[in-house]
């Protein structure tokens, strides 16, 4: 009897923990700075979080994509290239699951950057998106200047992307999916090659949306 009671207590405790976790706010990733500034003559202490820098790329429909495209939106970012045969196909399989999960969420979008812009032209990205079954303007496949893409990958999204001729496909890059909030802050990092991690991302998207619409 005692045993059963103990078990019930444990189960309740566990239940409590998980439900608490679900309602907790997602962390804000990246470095932060505490700054003192003056507001209406009063000195206030404020925390400045790491945010995604300004960018300007072109998507598969030849439309210019900037931070403004994602204004008031949550988005998921990743880095890939169409001729990649290592982790990208897995990432795209998983991102397709995210794409399906966010179909009815007007405030959520996806931003996939090619890290091989020389080969991945707009036309090729268009074809790639078509073949993947992606329509509409929810999932942007963007290309641009290589330096700019590598730079934003490393300094804004903390994702690795670089040319490496010793690699089978000539590039090394991380398979990370990054969850970005409406204030351009990173709220989650997930391994885009691991199904369980992508399940977590799909749940976190819902959690993040609830922060804006409690």
């Amino acid at each position: 009897m005692k045993k059963i009671l103990n078990l019930t207590a444990l189960a309740l405790l566990l239940l409590n923990c998980t439900s608490k976790k679900e309602t907790e706010k997602l962390p804000i990733l990246g470095y932060r700075e505490v700054v003192a500034k003056e507001v209406e003559g009063q000195k206030v202490i404020d925390t400045v979080y790491h945010t995604i820098a300004d960018f300007q790329f072109v998507n598969q429909d030849s439309v210019v994509v900037t931070n403004e495209t994602f204004a008031g939106k949550i988005y998921i970012a990743d880095f890939f290239f169409t001729s990649c045969r290592t982790i990208c196909p897995i990432m795209k399989t998983q991102m397709l699951r995210v794409y399906e999960a966010i179909q009815d969420m007007p405030d959520v979008a996806i931003l996939s950057h090619t890290i091989d812009p020389e080969y991945d032209t707009v036309a090729l990205l268009r074809d790639f998106a078509d073949r993947l079954g992606v329509t509409g303007n929810k999932w942007h496949f963007v290309t641009g200047e290589q330096d700019k893409i590598y730079d934003i990958a490393q300094t804004s999204y903390f994702a690795t992307a670089m040319v490496d001729k010793t690699e089978p496909d000539g590039f090394i890059h991380s398979g990370a999916f990054l969850l970005i909030d409406k204030e351009r802050r990173i709220r989650g990092k997930y391994d885009g090659t691991v199904e369980d991690d992508v399940n977590r991302l799909i749940k976190d998207i819902e959690r993040l949306r609830k922060e804006y619409n409690p």
Binding site: S83, T86, P89
Partner: protein
């Protein structure tokens, strides 16, 4: 002399009977799929498939959209057996129609695959997911490999 001939005749008959028996046995073997050889090929093939192929063609062989064609229920695989054996090592480029759907994503080959490994992968993909081709022997792959040409 005559008795000798008779002896040879009966010997021949026995031999050809044996041959027929073995032939039937080997035919059976490839269909019953329960021999050790088949199981070893299949299991090795499954691991090699996971390493070299499943990123694109998926673990369940269904492919991905119109990017990577399926291997599960593929008319292309049934109609182009020898080409499939060759493209594992040599890769393939350009348009490809599978089950009436057009694909056009270059597939890099895996040049380091041995004939045995190719036979193992072939045995796996031609018998997994409802496919029922039977064992694909290394000797068969060896013969086909000689006709591949190309790279």
């Amino acid at each position: 002399m005559i008795s000798n001939l008779r002896f040879w005749k009966s010997e021949l008959a026995v031999l050809s009977c044996c041959l027929l028996f073995f032939l039937m046995l080997s035919c059976n073997q490839s269909k019953t799929d329960n021999s050790n050889k088949f199981n070893n090929y299949f299991r090795q093939g499954e691991q090699l498939y996971a390493k070299h192929c499943s990123n694109c063609h998926q673990v369940d062989g269904t492919g991905l959209g119109r990017l990577y064609p399926p291997l599960k229920q593929s008319d292309y695989m049934n109609k182009n057996f020898e080409r499939v054996i060759c493209l594992m090592r040599n890769g393939i480029q350009g348009e490809l129609v599978v089950n009436g759907v057009q694909y056009n994503q270059a597939m890099p080959g895996v040049p380091t695959l041995t004939d045995l490994e190719t036979a193992e992968i072939a045995t796996y993909i031609y018998n997994a997911w409802g496919n029922e081709h039977g064992l694909i022997d290394v000797k068969e792959v060896e013969q086909i490999s000689n006709t591949c040409g190309g790279k």
